[in-house]
Subunit: 177 residues, 4 copies
């Protein structure tokens, strides 16, 4: 009964998730929250501190799975609210065409992006937030950095799974590298 | 003296504009203002009513020239404020990579986009606005339409110079066609 | 034994596919093959004729699933070769950022894109082909149409599941609407 | 007489170019030529060696002005053929939406991109070439580098005017950073 509801609602049991992860690429959304000035230039970027799939405590983008039956747009908003709180006031992009597509593999050599649990394909976005952000649920902290701090080698060493490469790609797309 | 100031400031005299228009493609920015719901889906699009270069009174995008020394980002904000008023609260895009590039020629057959005055190349954007909009300066009216009203053949007949084609391209880019 | 190999290789048994489709969004790639002139303008677009998930015989984009462990780039090439033959010489895009993201749901009202079998999320591309194309495997025919023929209401009536809307979005993105 | 022809044809006299450059942003196209493998991954990127506006001999993108009356698409092809020769076989992108917009100012602090001669706004593209390239006209050399060589600090020191930043943005857009 529970698992029927879970399946229908897009929530999977632990067993189902384990099975699916061994069989299919899993669709994720991934977001870099940013604060902008009045002409839309990025002033700071937000990075979470969280326990990562590889067991480390690392800086991370907002990220999460798209559920069965869920629009990508709704998944993006859901994960932003889950990780930044309900007062973050994210401005979801007009287009769901991502800034880039990030392909994570159990084998770190396939793409340079690594997820030991699964083959995950993430649609990656930059999302301006204008409200108050508070790290929630699994996140230990939320830090706001300038684009140049975020793109530094120091920050690269604090991000795992290749996420710093994703961060650089996102910053480059808006000329903030 | 006046013209020196104008040249340095990016404002040209009528003579200078006429000369430049016969010699060089002129860089423009062009914007479709939109209102969005909380998940970033477009609810309505704003079209100005104004006197057009071809002498007609037509529906139009927000549009204007990039001045000498001016960032594209600043030109976009300036023209939005000029045409929609100071309370429009436009959310300038993070990236100045346009949604499309619109090439207007004195000869309407070159690209399908027509400007009898000049060869103009416009960087075209979609810009969400969250404040109060009031048509200003040269605009006679500002109408808010649903995406499907805006993309209808009726609206095509109210826009000149091929701007309805630009509108369709912009709407298509966000899946709102 | 067979199913183990299938799971590891990314090929699923019929049962496994049925289960996964009830639980997770399934990742697809989707491509509009085009022929271009020497300056990169689209001369014609290719549409397959095939049996569709809804039981109809309809015009269709090249489309197919991304397998476990497979790069999106490799999936795109594999499906192009499967549907157009080995001599098509597709020019796979430099960037795997799609032109648009197409979300198909069992319920046709969620997004306007419909797949009765599953919730499928397709990364949609335009791919120039320079070689000889021959419809293969499940396809009955391959027709080359001008962009304006392809975007006509007549063609809309020959495509199901909302794919004509995807086609219009792709054509709009390159100014070929 | 000559200048009339020049004006109509889009070619300006030295005087006219000097005047225009003091009054208007000048529209450019800019391209990074690349060689790809059969799945569209970048194998190497081409950089010219040429005399730059600042007087240095530096590594450079393919770059040049869009003329009055000329389509951006035709300008891009013209400059690629001018700088790489007639046998380069460039694959002009399907869409003229650039990968990024590069804004060069006489004042190097406005955008970080610098052109002492003028305010230039370049539409920047990546263009695969499949033929034989030979540096021509004003170029002294054409070097093919791996993406990681091209993005190295060593190469940054060989490029002026901020063009290495443009190169990084272009490489990031295709995940080649």
């Amino acid at each position: 009964m529970t698992s029927e509801v879970e399946a229908r609602s897009g929530w999977l049991s632990a067993d189902q998730i384990r099975d699916a992860r061994a069989q299919l690429p899993i669709l994720y959304v991934e977001a870099l929250p940013v604060r902008c000035d009045s002409v839309g230039s990025i002033v700071s970027v937000g990075l979470l501190l969280r326990a990562m799939p590889d067991g480390s405590i690392s800086r991370s983008l907002v990220t999460g799975r798209v559920m069965y039956g869920e629009l990508v747009r709704d998944a993006l908003l859901r994960h932003l609210e889950k990780d930044l709180g309900n007062m973050a006031m994210p401005q979801i992009p007009l287009s769901m065409t991502p800034v880039s597509v990030s392909e994570y593999f159990p084998n770190p050599e396939v793409s340079g992006l690594h997820d030991p649990r699964q083959h995950a394909v993430a649609l990656s976005y930059i999302v301006p937030v204008s409200g108050d952000c508070a790290p929630s649920q699994a996140s230990l902290d939320l830090a706001w950095l300038t684009p140049s701090e975020a793109s530094s080698p120091e920050m690269a060493s604090e991000m795992t799974g290749g996420q710093h490469k994703v961060l650089l790609t996102l910053l480059a797309s808006v000329g903030a590298l």
